[in-house]
């Protein structure tokens, strides 16, 4: 087990290193940099002025040096300065994390509390009309673009209540907090709920077919007891995996949802920073997202291994 963990940790670091190289190179391939944007409004400028600014921002150094500089800083906890705001990148990124984390957490909660029970229900009543309807509903959930759903929610909110949630970092009432966080979380969580439901259903079915369930049935355990006591307990395992898959899935959904609902979280910030060619922000944000995804997956694997002794550590 220990060797397995060490191996996984090493691979994790290797993956993160690779991502850092990929993102760094990709950004430098992008035509135009922050200096072009800053001078865009100024029109024709002295090339020397441009060169000076590039030098000041460290953009004129060889790409390898720039990379080492970044990674070196990163290891020391120094993320550099945003080109646009000229504030430390850390100060720009950190305050936005709780906002996105809250959204993601709520969305996960929403998707689990809807997706798991419906998935179980669907599996238990496999082949019934209910199963049929639930499957169609979950598929349609996966088919709705979350930004469109967000737009529809906004439209409905205005025509029904005459108002709509506008982001406020310190909501005063519970209602406001609900409107600010829960509504967008539902818009993005809807898709996740559909995904959770599908995975729960199929893993539940898998388990219901297993021998020990048959044994339990044969021994005369009631249907309810079989379904909910024996099967669900074991079906929780794959559901943990879902959370791993959804970490990446959610971040994608959050980018558009934060845009639609105008939430100043990290997902929208990434899009804005890309637009400004604000390398220090983009690099570090992408790394942050990668770390989250990798760590979540690692934790899920470890949990899996801890719960299910059948896992082979070799592969």
């Amino acid at each position: 087990m220990f060797a397995y963990i060490v191996r996984r940790l090493f691979l994790m670091l290797l993956t993160l290193f690779g991502i850092s190289v990929i993102i760094f190179v990709l950004l430098r391939v992008v035509p135009g940099n922050i200096v072009d944007i800053l001078f865009d409004a100024a029109g024709f400028v002295d090339p020397a002025d441009k060169a000076n600014l590039e030098k000041e921002l460290g953009l004129s150094q060889p790409i390898v040096i720039q990379y080492l500089h970044w990674i070196g800083g990163l290891l020391r906890g120094d993320l550099g300065y945003s080109y646009v705001s000229e504030k430390p990148a850390l100060d720009e990124i950190l305050p936005r994390i709780p906002i996105t984390a809250r959204l993601a957490g709520l969305a996960l909660l929403f998707s689990a509390s809807i997706g798991i029970p419906l998935g179980v229900l669907s599996a238990v009543h496999q082949g019934s009309r209910l199963d049929y309807v639930l499957r169609v509903v979950s598929l349609s959930g996966l088919s709705l673009p979350s930004f469109w759903l967000g737009l529809l929610i906004l439209m409905a909110s205005v025509s029904m209540f005459g108002t709509m949630p506008i982001f406020n970092p310190n909501p005063k009432t519970w209602m406001e907090a609900f409107a600010i966080y829960a509504v967008p979380a539902m818009a993005v969580g809807f898709r996740s709920a559909a995904l959770t439901m599908r995975i729960t259903r199929s893993s539940m079915l898998e388990i219901l077919r297993q021998d020990y369930i048959r044994t339990a049935r044969a021994k005369g355990a009631s249907e309810t007891s079989v379904n909910y006591h024996h099967a669900l307990k074991n079906a929780v395992l794959p559901v943990i995996t879902v959370i791993g898959i959804e970490a990446a899935f959610l971040i994608g959904g959050l980018i558009v949802t934060e845009t639609v609902f105008n939430i100043p979280g990290i997902a929208r910030f990434l899009v804005e920073a890309l637009r400004w060619r604000d390398y220090p922000i983009v690099q570090n944000l992408v790394m942050f997202i990668a770390v989250v995804v990798v760590v979540v997956n690692f934790t899920v694997d470890m949990l899996y291994a801890a719960i299910d002794p059948r896992i082979r550590y070799g592969d």
Binding site: V30, F39, D40, A42, S85, L154, P264
Partner: protein, 531 residues
């Protein structure tokens, strides 16, 4: 000039009185909530070239002089003193001297002196040790030799030749006085001014917060406790926020005409105004390479435009047709109507113009069977893209098949500078309704924002002639003549001048939207909320 100033002061006091009698005694207090259309790159007005910066940060500063904030049409006659108590031109009209107020303090408590004035303009002229990252309005001070001080409370601008327009440039929202003791970098992140409001924080993509300056030198002002800008790039979300009462005012001059109808339907009590904003939508033409190196094709292009259709689509008819200068009645320097219509392509009969254009195209070797294939490049922003789409549709009528080439902001100017385009769709915002600003900035040989590198020495002589002319009527005639020539040269065909709306809740008092600039009207020192 003295009399002009006196007149302006008189107008101000009359206006103030009428305001009071109309709206009742101003009430102090309250936070003024406005949504902001996007996240400005920094907080330094001098380094910006978008009014996204002026609106939130103008309340932090003062100018030497300022356009009266309650008269919609900015002109030399509406200029009032601000940090300067008074101003005077020397006899030869080559020195402009300001007497400064002695009771002004920066937000950090340091006293304001003439040295700050000198610092600001030295920096703008590129003469100081510390440099701006970018300095988009350097050309405004081309005629200024230097700025000198006499003691702590007098500063003089010494000119190379008379330039009456300088005062107008100094009165723009683009010309705040910066403190000597802060670096440009500090001004970009945590600006300090002398103005009615102090900077609190600027969170990119989220909000900008200002708070009342209790030590403001105008006693009793400002009325507001603070101003809060919430950054909402999505226009419909922003408007919904305003309609539902989350904001006291929309972002100024940012409500499009179709959205305005929506606001009025949803919030019938809201006060809305529609004003021209002195931003022209124009075509930049690469005349250095085929096909537009051919003057016939350039003329054909100018003849093919159906300006009314543009205005119909973009503004439901509420836009203006004109040359470089903002059209009348809000523009001060607009050509008379008959003069405008005598310019090729401006005549009312579009079909006739296009017939002529097609003849020119045929002369150049194109026709119904041989279309010209080009790309229309523009920035990936709706106000640029939308007219480009209409333009492409219109030039189909003269055998030009164009494809839209959407360019990222980061690549737009480098591409234009490389001359890597044939037609571009461009927006030119004029901060001051003043020929010196728009002619030199956009059409002078080698000027920084002369994107097309248009260069005509004869016209340039006329630029200088009008600039030095102190007789207003003579100057106007010259300006008309220049504007007409620029259009006939197809230097940068102007398609239309935009009009946009601003709305505020009925309890917001003392907001005036300028009708010939969208850069100058945001001091907000006497805005108050009747709640």
């Amino acid at each position: 000039m003295r009399s002009v100033q006196a007149l302006a002061v008189g107008v101000l006091s009359v206006l103030a009185i009428s305001d009071v009698s109309f709206a009742g005694e101003p009430k102090s207090g309250g936070i003024f909530r406005i949504y902001h259309r996007d996240s400005p790159g920094s907080a330094s007005i001098h380094e910006g070239a978008t009014y996204s910066l002026n609106v939130p940060f103008m309340p932090i500063f003062n100018n030497l002089v300022m356009f009266n904030q309650h008269i919609a049409q900015n002109s030399i006659g509406t200029i009032v003193p601000e940090l300067a108590e008074s101003w005077a031109w020397s006899g030869d009209n080559k020195t402009l001297t300001f007497k400064l107020r002695k009771d002004v303090k920066w937000h950090d408590g340091k006293p304001f002196t003439a040295a700050d004035v000198k610092c600001t303009f030295d920096m703008l002229m590129g003469k100081s040790q510390q440099k701006f990252r970018q300095n988009p309005r350097k050309s405004w001070y081309d005629q200024v030799n230097d700025v000198t001080t006499n003691g702590d409370y007098e500063a003089s601008f010494n000119l190379k030749r008379p330039q009456p327009a300088l005062l107008s440039l100094l009165a723009s929202g683009y010309t705040p006085i910066y403190p000597c003791h802060l670096s440009p970098a500090e001004m970009r992140t945590k600006p300090i001014g002398t103005g009615p409001f102090k900077f609190v924080e600027f969170k990119a993509n989220e909000s900008i917060k200002l708070t009342k300056n209790p030590d403001y030198f105008k006693k009793g002002l400002p009325y507001l406790d603070g101003i809060e800008f919430t950054i909402i790039p999505n226009r419909s979300t922003a408007i919904l926020g305003f309609v539902s009462g989350k904001f006291d005012m929309t972002f100024p001059t940012e409500v499009s005409i179709p959205l305005l109808k929506d606001v009025k339907a949803q919030a019938p009590n809201a006060v809305c105004v529609v004003e021209p904003n002195n931003v022209s939508t124009n075509i930049i033409i690469n005349s250095t390479s085929p096909p537009f190196d051919n003057i016939d094709i350039r003329r054909a292009l100018a003849l093919s435009l159906d300006r009314k259709a543009f205005i119909q689509i973009m503004f439901e008819g509420q836009g203006d047709i004109g040359g470089t200068m903002e059209p009348a009645p809000d523009g001060l320097w607009a050509m008379p109507k008959d003069m405008l219509e005598s310019i090729p392509g401006y005549g009312p009969d579009v079909e006739k113009n296009r017939e002529e254009a097609r003849k020119l195209m045929q002369k150049a070797g194109y026709g119904p069977d041989k279309h010209l294939q080009i790309k229309v490049s523009t920035r990936n922003i709706a106000v640029y893209r939308d007219p480009a789409i209409i333009l492409i549709d219109q030039i189909k009528s003269i055998y030009i098949d164009a494809e839209l080439d959407v360019v990222d902001t980061a690549q737009w100017f480098p591409k234009v500078a490389r001359k890597d385009y044939s037609l571009g769709l461009n927006l030119t915002g004029n901060a001051v309704d003043e020929p010196d600003q728009s002619f030199y900035e956009n059409y002078a040989c080698g000027s920084e924002r002369n994107y097309t590198n248009y260069c005509n020495k004869d016209i340039e002589k006329l630029f200088d002639q009008q600039s030095a002319e102190t007789d207003l009527n003579k100057r106007k005639k010259l300006v008309w003549e220049i504007d007409k020539k620029l259009q006939e040269d197809v230097a940068r065909p102007i398609i239309f001048h935009a009009r946009t709306g601003t709305c505020w809740q009925p309890y917001v008092k003392n907001v005036t939207i300028m009708s010939n600039s969208s850069y100058n009207g945001y001091r907000y020192e006497d805005v108050w909320l009747d709640k």
